[in-house]
């Protein structure tokens, strides 16, 4: 049995969080992989673990370079509206006939690296806080590049996404489809929150952690709006009013 002397620690969710880490050598990376697998197991129910195992098997069969469990499950912050999120580096496995709402993104290694350099916050999230289930070295290389080049998500890109999502949500707010409005506005508030945090040098964590991060960055109204769509069932009028505020915030 190998004893690991170096121990991985997750970066702080700040602009300087990655720079404070040493580029991981094989031993430190092994420590991360070991910790991540334990976290992934601890954060999932038996039913979710069965799905994750199926996705891991299918990814390996396709010869994928890496598979990462991401999102609220990786952060142990699942809520009643959480999906199961994965990021695969390599071919995209089939997720049909798996009993859960699954979000699985796939990128070839070069495309993943390119996303990091152009500030795709989802790729950054995978690298910083995802539970890596396996990695043939592509993610260690990517993390080293992110540290070396001091990469950070692009706030402007997030702002464009937030504006667009708010616009569509406001159209939906007039239709009487409350279930769809709740889901779509939750997405719009999340995008707005992520833009706000990135532009204030804070790395956005899982959706259910964003409200606290927003409060800490002086945005309590947006925090309440987001929390409401996760944990309550606000009326369409209330959601519409919060969307108008988010619209103003992103327009300024």
């Amino acid at each position: 049995m190998t004893t690991l002397t170096k121990s991985w620690r997750q970066p702080a969710p700040t602009r300087k969080g990655l720079a404070a880490l040493s580029p991981p050598d094989p031993e430190l990376w092994e420590s991360r992989l070991s910790q991540d697998r334990k976290r992934a197991t601890a954060n999932q129910s038996e039913a979710l673990l069965r799905i994750t195992r199926a996705i891991e098997d299918r990814s390996r069969e396709l010869g994928a370079d890496a598979l990462v469990l991401t999102g609220s499950t990786a952060r142990n912050r699942r809520t009643r509206v959480s999906d199961l999120d994965y990021h695969v580096i390599g071919g995209k496995p089939d997720i049909d006939r798996l009993p859960s709402d699954i979000d699985l993104y796939s990128d070839e290694p070069d495309a993943f690296l390119a996303k990091l350099f152009r500030g795709d916050d989802f790729a950054h999230w995978t690298l910083r806080y995802g539970c890596i289930l396996f990695d043939d070295g592509v993610l260690r290389k990517a993390l080293n590049a992110a540290i070396e080049h001091d990469l950070w998500p692009d706030a402007e890109r997030k702002l464009r996404q937030a504006r667009r999502a708010i616009g569509f949500s406001r159209k939906l707010a007039t239709t009487g489809d409350h279930a769809a409005l709740l889901e779509v506005s939750r997405g719009a508030f999340s995008l707005t929150a992520r833009w706000w945090l990135i532009s204030h040098d804070v790395f956005p964590l899982a959706r259910d952690e964003l409200a606290q991060q927003l409060v800490e960055t002086d945005q309590p109204g947006l925090a309440r709006a987001l929390e409401g769509t996760i944990h309550r069932r606000p009326s369409a009028a209330e959601i519409a009013s919060r969307l108008a505020e988010a619209d103003q915030l992103t327009a300024s």
Binding site: A42, N43, S45, L48, N76, R77, R78, T79, R80, V81, S82, D96, L98, P99, S100, D101, I102, D103, D120, F122, R157, R160, Q161, R164, A165, F168, K171, L172, T175, G176, D177, H178, A179, A180, V184, G187, L191, R233
Partner: protein, 136 residues
């Protein structure tokens, strides 16, 4: 450890299949409008319309949805297998669900994704029509 709770949805339990059909029709009209405008919004409306139509048909058939997209995908398959729908739209539902999230969260362009929103609208029109006939 937190676990996902059941998504029992009291509010939507109060929305009748007929009301769902009306919502599906309105969303479809917006999707058709956006075929001459923003195709990314057309995808969003097409998906919303298909979901509402499946909800209406599933409620009538006693298929539980619980506000979960994957259950609607399964319901689309079951509705075809039981003869309610002439074709299996589970793949279209699944594809639209992925695409609308990619557009919403990543700003992806649908031309790049190689997807015909016009064809999707035609398929969803047929489902909405069936749901409408059965609700009247």
């Amino acid at each position: 450890m937190r676990r996902s709770r059941s998504r029992v949805n009291a509010y939507d339990g109060l929305v009748s299949p007929k009301a769902k059909v009306e919502i599906a029709k309105e969303h479809l009209a917006k999707a058709q409008e956006e075929l001459n405008g923003d195709h990314r919004d057309a995808v969003q409306w097409t998906f919303a319309s298909l979901e509402a139509a499946i909800d209406a048909l599933a409620a009538e058939a006693g298929i539980p949805i619980d506000q979960q997209h994957w259950k609607r995908t399964d319901a689309a398959k079951q509705l075809h297998q039981t003869g309610v729908l002439p074709s299996d739209l589970s793949e279209l539902h699944s594809e639209l669900n992925f695409l609308r999230k990619a557009i919403f969260y990543d700003g992806e362009d649908i031309e790049e994704a190689g997807f015909s929103v016009e064809d999707a609208v035609v398929d969803v029109e047929a489902v909405v029509e069936i749901a409408s006939e059965r609700a009247s």
